[in-house]
Symmetry: C2
Subunit: 146 residues, 2 copies
Amino acid sequence: MPIHSLDRDVEERLSDRDVRYTRGRRRVVAALHEADGPMSAAELHGKVGADVPLSSLYRTLAVLEETEVVMPHFGARGITRYELAEWLTGHHHHLVCVDCGTVDDINVPPQHEAAVRVLVEKIAAAAAFSPSAHVLEIEGSCSRCR
Amino acid sequence: MPIHSLDRDVEERLSDRDVRYTRGRRRVVAALHEADGPMSAAELHGKVGADVPLSSLYRTLAVLEETEVVMPHFGARGITRYELAEWLTGHHHHLVCVDCGTVDDINVPPQHEAAVRVLVEKIAAAAAFSPSAHVLEIEGSCSRCR
DNA sequence: GTAAGAATGAGAACTACTATCATTATATAT
DNA sequence: ATATATAATGATAGTAGTTCTCATTCTTAC
């Protein structure tokens, strides 16, 4: 999705919730859009510039999470990373490097995704659990570490 | 796996690594064995008794992680939970309740597990990533919350 | 242009976790 | 069995990531 139509979608969502789409918030959304995986507050601090204080980034992320523009991801010890919500980016999964900890997004072709969904349904059904979503993380060594 | 054979396996592993299998460590292993999902240090503090200080629990968990008796799980904001390693319990996945945050283990029948593995291979292959493991978390509402 | 409300920045406070160190327990050698 | 060396524990101080507070600045509506 190009940045301007993303921006329009986010703008509309925030306006619906009576929340302003300010410069600081735009910067965070843009940084997450350029990233190729979830980012932590500290990583965003490095990317959007150190002039934006960490406390503001945390608050911005909290606001964007409440309005469902971003989603938290808890894949690493002690740190919360954020990525744009799937209604903005499309459904995807993660490749997690067990050596360096980087997380990269991976898009799954529709037929595989459908197969995953069917399996999830079957597995959950056996436990009388009604699944609303699934998270698949593939662990291994990334190309940089291998 | 019954507790005594689990205990024997852990004992052997720790002895191999020249680490003692003490009373405190046994208590943690037993608590994790009885649990039906990963537990945090604070939750263990409640379960094994408040007479075991948190600092000891954190260190015990670190030792058990180094010796690969337990595995960390980062499914919740800011907290690390631990569960017995899969060589002790068998491979399994998680049902995560989006309402209350509880995580329950779920065993997956072999044919479904095989299908998951095949899909993971295919998805990863498309990104030139060689998978060593996978984590599948199924989100939904647990029976208590529904 | 002004008033009301929202967002920001700076820093204090909180929580999960880690490190330190003195004390206690365990294992090995004699 | 006792002494000695090494490991584990408990208490507490310290750290990192995150959240809260509040005074100031910016927006929006009138």
